[in-house]
């Protein structure tokens, strides 16, 4: 477990995740209090990644449940392996014949088979899905429930049950209780508001776009061979883009992708024609691309006007 807030900062940094003390505090508390964290924030700010790095930092296994519309208990908790059960009945035909020997009529045959019920409904034929695997894990684990907002409200209610007692009852097997309470990280893009009941059960963490310095730090870490001056320009431009009325605002993943691409193409400054061309790769929508291009032009124009003065001070600021 983490020793302190600063320990979280350090160990996540060790897993190449840069975080604020605010974020680290919530993670520290969640681990110490054994409470789920509900992480919200715009796309691409590192919500999913947070779940993964916590597991790595604590050297725990990660079990991930990806939510989607229509996700149900069978896909999330467990299923019976009907095919395997049936295969066994075929292979064991003779044995079954023995059991049924001398049975008078269908009713008695069914009766006798029923007595052997638990052979067929045992762990052997149980196919555990992520949630059950998380409960049955022999060691503590991190359970990442990703994009919970995509699931239906009914699934959310079901999840709430599990998150409150960490046990489930399987009709055929009885109640299965977690050996270790897993560390739960739920992420949401807020496409739907979570119920108050779920929120009450969790500590809440809102991750916003990072400030310039933190974003630079992330880039330095993830794209070490990037030209620092270029990276600074990219970050500055992206921060301007995020202020525009865009349908989808570019996030950390986009800045990483873009810096990587520009580095590969050996671009050294945003004046390069390739910049305008590659801009479309980080924007999903036509209209957004156009707005971004306008913003880029304006940014370059302003910079040019300023560049008459001694070496662009703003770039230096960004680097320090």
């Amino acid at each position: 477990m983490f020793q302190s807030v600063d320990d979280v900062v350090a160990r996540l940094a060790g897993e190449r995740y840069i975080c604020s003390r605010d974020l680290a505090t919530v993670v520290y508390l969640a681990c110490a209090m054994r409470k789920p964290i509900l992480v919200e924030g715009p796309a691409g700010v590192g919500k999913t990644e947070l779940g993964k790095v916590i597991a790595r930092a604590l050297k725990l296994d990660l079990i991930r449940l990806q939510c989607y519309e229509g996700l149900d208990e069978a896909k999330a908790l467990y299923e019976w392996e009907y095919a395997k059960q049936l295969l066994y009945t075929q292979v064991l035909k003779d044995k079954i014949g023995e059991v049924l020997e001398g049975a008078k009529g269908l009713r008695e045959a069914v009766e006798r088979i029923a007595q052997e019920d638990d052979v067929f409904f045992s762990d052997r034929f149980l196919l555990p899905r992520p949630l059950l695997r998380a409960l049955l894990a022999p060691e503590a684990i991190v359970l990442l429930i990703d994009e919970i907002d995509k699931s239906d409200t009914e699934f959310e209610a079901f999840l709430l049950e599990i998150l409150s007692d960490f046990q489930v009852s399987v009709p055929e097997l009885g109640t299965l209780k977690a050996k270790h309470v897993p560390l739960v990280v739920l992420t949401s893009n807020n496409s739907r508001e979570m119920s108050d009941a779920l929120k009450r059960r969790c500590l809440h963490l809102y991750i916003d776009f990072p400030d310039v310095a933190r974003e630079m730090e992330i880039i330095r870490l993830k794209v070490p061979d990037a030209d620092q001056k270029l990276a600074a320009e990219v970050v500055e431009l992206l921060h301007r883009l995020r202020k525009l009325d865009l349908k989808k605002r570019p996030s950390i993943s986009e800045s990483l992708d873009w810096v990587k691409a520009l580095t590969l193409l050996n671009v050294k400054t945003l004046d390069d024609g390739l910049v305008t061309e590659t801009l479309s790769t980080i924007m999903k929508y036509e209209a957004d691309v156009r707005k971004a291009q306008d913003e880029l032009k304006e940014y370059l124009a302003v910079r040019k006007a300023k560049s008459g003065q001694p070496a662009a001070a703003s770039d230096k600021d960004l680097l320090n």
Binding site: L29, M33, A74, R200, A287
Partner: protein, 467 residues
Amino acid sequence: MLYRILEFSDLLRRNGLRVSVPENMDAASALELVGVGDRGAFKSALRAALVKQASDAKTFDELFDLFFLGLGGKAREMDEELMRQLGMTPAEFQAMLDALEKFLENLDGEISALTRALLTGDMGEVERLLREAAEAARGENMGMRVLMFAQGIGDRIGIEGIRAEIENLKTLLGRGGAPPELIEKMAQYAEQRMRNLMQLVRDLARRETDQKDPARSERERPDYLSQKSFIYFTEDDIRKMNEVVVRLARRFKNRLSLRRKHARRGRLDVSATFRKNLQYGGVPFRIKLDRRKKEKPEVVVLCDISDSVLNASRFMLQFVYSVQDLYSKVRSFVFVSDIGEVTKLFEEHEIHQAVEKALRGDVIDVYSHSNFGRAFELFYRHHWTAITPKTTVLVIGDGRNNYNRANDWVLKEIRSKAKQLVWLNPESRMTWGYGDSEMPRYAQHCSVVEECRNILQLYRLIDRIAA
């Protein structure tokens, strides 16, 4: 500590946040873990335990500073800020305060207690005097709004008088024979202090009023708007209602996807399994689960955007946009006399822009006269494939057809092919069928027809739409 937390939660609640008892307990155990020494962690811990909605974080931050730093703490922060602004080291700052104090001593009797405390940096005394004033101001008028309360406190302490005193002091300082830079600094300092005082008064008022502050009531306006007819909405009203619209859209979505909630777990479908496995001589190698097919409801919206209903359409288009944003299977059309699809436009633009583009005639001519009959017929001819047996069709419009051909046969066709046909009319039911309104004729083909003139009606109506 728990007591302080409960008090703080109460303050949060008074400012519109929802905080429950278990959350208070969480906050208390969180604080035990991080301790109170690390102010950043202290604040983060409380926020994580008590605030569950990102939009409340700002209110939390402000109230936290007020509550936990207190006026005294706030004042200390102000001191630090002042030092930075004046570019002084703590030692220089202290020396200046001492000089000021000496100066004020010689003025004895000519200066108010509050001004003296303020200028010598005796913030404890400032706080005491302010609280006294607040008590008195409260006695005069219970339950005042923040600004009035602040004014009340200001009157009590005679803020105008203090301002005059400070101005006066600046002149007096000049005559004292101190070095000009120091005098300059002192004058700046005194002025800043005056500002600090105003800030403290406002903070105190904010913390002590029982009323929500005016900034919040602004945010709550959508509720006041819920019964106002769309037709009287200003453009600005509508833009403010983003949140409401999204909530409505979710409700609509939840309503439509209710049906499939019942099949939680697949059951073994015996007969299907048997059929499927005939080829293996009846040995059931392949299983058929009776997992009911996940029904993704489909929605087609036809929205009238003619001048007669312009503001209602502006609102309804926001609603349509939000529905489309939540769902993959929505196709949106707008019409006046022509009809055009705006699905793609909505996908590509941010909400307000998308709506304005649709209304401005980027897709169809918006300056023609309403012709529902023609629009319906065109829909039938060019977009009929949009309708399947799973489709919920939503028509939004007043049904005022300018005495053109009604072409209600199209609705009849839709009704027989689609799952349901819902018509929302932004006009009062009393006027349907009068003048050029074709509503009675159109209504007979619909599964649900409702007057939808305000948010409240829309809200209720969503529940009436079949799952």
